[in-house]
């Protein structure tokens, strides 16, 4: 790279915004093809029950209906979906894989599970015909509560198993029992942490075209991982991978649930399009999104922390239950994230963590932004707050005393992370992150001056500071192909899907710096298997780290080709050449050189031969696969005011100091943090999925399921620190989930501080004005 890169770490405006803001970006629902038919699904109204009959005769006769399919019509295609993420190799691990059939047969296990598929001339007709499908279900008692689900007499979600335990995992570091013996103080609490839906602006959608002449299948899909979807569908449909193209165009929010799920709709539309030889489309409505798109939900933790008198953590012991929903296709990513992220930025010598995943009659749980990290952070941060109070140590001071020092990296925690590699922190500098946040929020001044003054005025104000780490940028790998075209413009194709992160800008920045071109002249293509078909997808805050590193590597390889060809044409050593302004030229004689477009023509001559060992054109493909992820860290600080009469909470200030290694674009890092914090605030005080005892979701609409609006999210102050990761050449770490990870813990600490003296201790998230009011009333008794 040039010594002073032009674009790295610069606030470059987004290349993609012109298309998005003028409505020219393609989303799946924009796909309109001649002869296209539309699909709607008949879904279970019962959370748990036996299907006694599905009668589709009347629906098939409905005018405008072209086909109605049930499980019985699928033949060999009726197979449980794939286990997407097998559990890591942890000793004595128990895991029961139970994945979903594309259409329920014999039994339904959650409300919204698809039972039949209606294909019609329009969505209106398809929706009308749904009502003509007569489904008889004999209800069975539902498993809703985690603890009741483990009772000996609980109904079984999967009857071939002997209980509702989906998994049982114990991970140990050091020896908890000896830490407990040595402890001056033990702090034990029970915590409940619940989450909700991802609530994207764009719900899921699938459009499919089968071209019978070319025997090619094209699928437009709102997936975060088009390449695994293509490979899986090709296998299931008996096609070559090269006969299947999956395009994830612009996607209006991914957040995790749009990962390579092989959702029933994703499997059924291609199958039906090939049978009917007609293009098909299905776009999820908001209600379907509430019960047919995966979500995240609750965990119950019984946790204990052992400390010395001066507040040093000796060890932590945690036992928790995890709600995995009706099936567990995504393995144990979430509870293992909870287990690992609980350790946070702290030096915890002895740790024992045990969890059980429990099947329930609710929608499938898979990662949503944060992916279980929230739950773990909540446990350790709340235990530290309780310990600080018990020991009479300031909340920030107890954290300061336990942070891992910069000299200790890399830190091996000896337990297994979600990527089946040991949990190792590559690099970090935690204390300055904390000190900067404490300084910027004015922690000491607030406690010394503002809080007593405002309390005297009758205002219940509180402050909080929480720390976290975020495991990011895991493997296996991503790739990219960079091409300099004869126009001098550069094309960069990579396999990950894009859902608004700014990939068209950050990847372009890395490529532009390597080749000395303008960032606007780099056209990035993502999520189209025709363009690039090796890779995995966008998840685990890995796009910029892994795909970004691949783009960088491919661009550097093209740079080498440019230098080599220009050097031989100009007859000068490569070291004397420079790339800048879209040209390659001799350092001391700028007029001696070529524009990159001109050089790309010379690299693809109409006469002459391509010499052995060389390739035509200025193009390279490169891959990047880190051995393990890079660990980002940060500190959030907040000031709130609570009205104890109405139990409403107003956020006065919100501050994030964050370290995601080398920053490609600070504006986009801030954007990621802002969005994450907004979702974190939703998780802390607004969003909760409410199920009744029969497993009916009672608030499946934005009328009743509250997400924070612009007026609920305060301006967010940010400061950046950069501790480069040694695991990739640019030093990148991910930032996609940072904003929402410690928000619940932070909110709880601040509200508790504001209500100091009331006796309220917060051991659960989400709160709501109602719930906070109940806690205040309970504390009075």
């Amino acid at each position: 790279l040039p010594a002073e890169p032009r674009y790295l770490s610069a606030r470059v405006a987004r290349n993609e915004d012109a298309r998005l803001l003028t409505g020219r970006a393609l989303f799946v629902d924009d796909v309109q093809l001649p002869g296209m038919l539309h699909v709607a699904f008949v879904r279970s109204e019962h959370a748990h029950g036996r299907i006694t009959s599905v009668d589709v005769q009347k629906a098939r006769q409905h005018a405008g209906v072209r086909a109605v399919y049930t499980a019985a019509d699928l033949g060999d295609y009726l197979k449980p979906g794939p286990l997407l993420v097998p559990p890591p190799p942890i000793p004595d691990l128990v895991f029961h894989a139970c994945t979903q059939l594309p259409l329920a047969k014999d039994k339904v296990r959650h409300v919204g599970e698809p039972i039949a598929m209606v294909v019609a001339d329009s969505r209106y007709v398809a929706e009308d015909a749904i009502r003509d499908v007569l489904v008889d279900i004999e209800p069975i008692d539902a498993v809703v509560d985690l603890e009741k689900g483990l009772a000996a007499d609980a109904p079984l979600v999967h009857e071939h198993l002997t209980s509702n335990v989906a998994a049982h995992v114990v991970q140990r570091k050091g020896d908890w029992a000896s830490a407990k013996k040595k402890a001056d103080v033990l702090v034990a609490r029970r915590f409940r942490y619940d989450r909700g839906v991802s609530a994207p602006i764009e719900n899921r959608a699938v459009a499919v075209e089968w071209n019978a002449r070319s025997e090619e299948l094209t699928i437009w899909d709102t997936t975060q991982a088009p390449i695994p979807i293509r490979n899986g569908l090709a296998r299931m449909l008996g096609l070559l991978e090269s006969q299947v193209n999956v395009i994830a165009p612009f996607v209006g929010g991914g957040f995790g649930p749009k990962i390579m799920m092989f959702y029933p709709e994703e499997l059924l539309l291609p199958w039906a399009a090939m049978r009917l030889n007609r293009p098909l489309k299905w776009t999820e409505d908001r209600q379907e999104n509430f019960y047919a798109t995966t979500q995240e939900r609750g965990q119950v933790h019984d946790a204990e922390m052992a400390l010395t008198r001066d507040g040093r953590i000796l060890g932590v012991h945690d036992v928790f239950l995890f709600d995995t929903g009706a099936y567990d296709p995504y393995g144990l990513t979430i509870p293992i994230n909870s287990q690992c992220t609980l350790l946070g930025p702290y030096d915890i010598p002895d740790y024992e963590s045990e969890f059980k995943a429990v099947f329930t009659n609710k929608t499938i749980v898979t990662p949503v932004r944060g992916a279980g990290r929230q739950h773990g952070v909540f446990v350790s941060e709340r235990l530290l707050d309780a310990a600080a109070r018990e020991l009479g140590i300031d909340r920030v001071e107890i954290r300061r005393r336990n942070l891992i020092g910069p000299e200790k990296f890399p830190v091996n925690h000896e337990i297994m992370f979600q990527d089946s590699a040991p949990l190792v922190y590559d690099s970090g500098n935690y204390l300055p992150t904390l000190e900067q946040a404490v300084e910027l929020i004015g922690y000491q001044e607030f406690l010394r001056d503002d809080q007593p003054r405002l309390r005297a005025e009758g205002k219940h104000v509180g402050i909080a500071v929480t720390c976290y780490v975020e495991g990011t940028g895991i493997g296996p790998y991503e790739g990219a192909r960079v091409t300099i075209e004869p126009s001098g413009k550069v094309r960069c194709a990579t396999g990950v899907g894009t859902q608004g992160q700014g990939h068209f800008t950050v990847f372009a920045q890395l490529v532009a710096d390597a080749l000395g071109v303008d960032v606007e002249d780099v056209r990035v293509v993502t999520g189209d298997t025709r363009e690039f078909h090796w890779g995995t997808g966008t998840f685990a805050s890995r796009g910029a780290v892994v795909a970004g590193s691949a783009c960088h590597a491919a661009a550097m390889a093209v740079r080498d080709k440019v230098l080599s060809l220009a050097g031989s044409l100009l007859n000068v050593p490569e070291g004397e050449l420079e790339l800048s302004g879209g040209r390659v030229y001799v350092k001391d004689a700028h007029d001696r050189g070529y524009s990159l477009g001109e050089l790309s023509g010379k690299a693809n001559p109409l006469r002459g031969a391509v010499r052995p060992g060389t390739e035509p054109g200025l193009e390279s493909t490169a891959y990047f696969g880190p051995d393990r992820g890079s660990t980002a860290n940060g500190v959030h600080a907040i000031i709130v005011e609570v009205d104890p009469e109405t139990a409403t909470v107003e956020i006065k200030r919100y501050l994030v100091v964050h370290d995601c290694g080398t920053i490609i674009n600070p504006m986009l890092v801030e954007g990621q943090i802002h969005g994450g914090v907004a979702q974190g605030i939703g998780n802390a005080f607004y969003e909760q999925l409410v199920y009744d005892e029969q497993g009916q979701l009672l608030n499946a609409s934005f009328m009743d399921y509250l997400i924070p609006t612009a007026t609920d999210v305060p301006p967010i102050e940010t400061a950046h620190r950069e501790t480069p990761s040694p695991y990739n050449p640019v030093g990148l770490k991910g930032v996609g989930e940072a904003g929402c990870i410690p928000t619940g813990a932070l909110f709880a600490q601040a509200v508790e501080d504001a209500l100091a003296g009331s006796g309220v201790e917060i051991t659960e998230i989400p709160l709501s004005p109602n719930r906070l009011f109940e806690l205040l009333e309970a504390a009075k008794r």
């Binding site: 009502r131 209600q287 499946a700």
Partner: protein, 152 residues
């Protein structure tokens, strides 16, 4: 959803009982009832249209069975309804006590399970709609009772 309460009919218990067993009267009185016909001993089938918040005029095919009848004192109603927007299932227990006047005090309690779309989006309003419909039905039945008492 639990709906329970008491209601005073302005008439003797035997006449109240009579009305409660007459599908033609019930069809008129119960809000949203399109049809209600007797299909067997203590068995009725019908169609009801109900609006709950954003769910407008949802049609339900209803099966009603009367059980544990002790005339004119008490009976139970087992309800099973199915429609395009969800289902409802439940049992209502109804007790009639005559008091001077004569006034007949009806004590009712029902536990009704509601599922599907109507539960998902209408939850917040279900209970108030349920209470409102019960009140309307009982008042309509009381009016019918008064008309009958005047005409005999």
């Amino acid at each position: 959803m639990i709906l329970s309460g008491t209601f005073n009919f302005e008439g003797p218990r035997a006449r109240v009982w009579e009305i409660l067993q007459d599908p033609a009267v019930l069809a008129k009185a119960l809000p949203g009832t399109r049809t209600l016909t007797q299909v067997g001993e203590d068995r009725y089938q019908g169609v009801m249209k109900i609006s709950v918040g954003p769910v407008n005029a949802a049609e339900f095919a209803m099966n009603v069975e009367l059980k544990d009848k002790v005339a004119p004192e008490k009976f139970a109603m087992v309800i099973d309804g199915k429609g395009g927007v969800g289902f409802t299932k439940g049992t209502a227990n109804i007790q009639l006590d005559e008091q001077p006047g004569p006034v007949t005090v009806m004590t009712y309690s029902s536990d009704v399970q509601v599922g599907g779309r109507i539960a998902a989006v209408g939850q917040r309003l279900l209970e108030s709609v349920g209470k409102m419909m019960t009140k309307q039905a009982l008042e309509a039945l009381n009016n019918e009772l008064k008309v009958r008492l005047r005409s005999t």
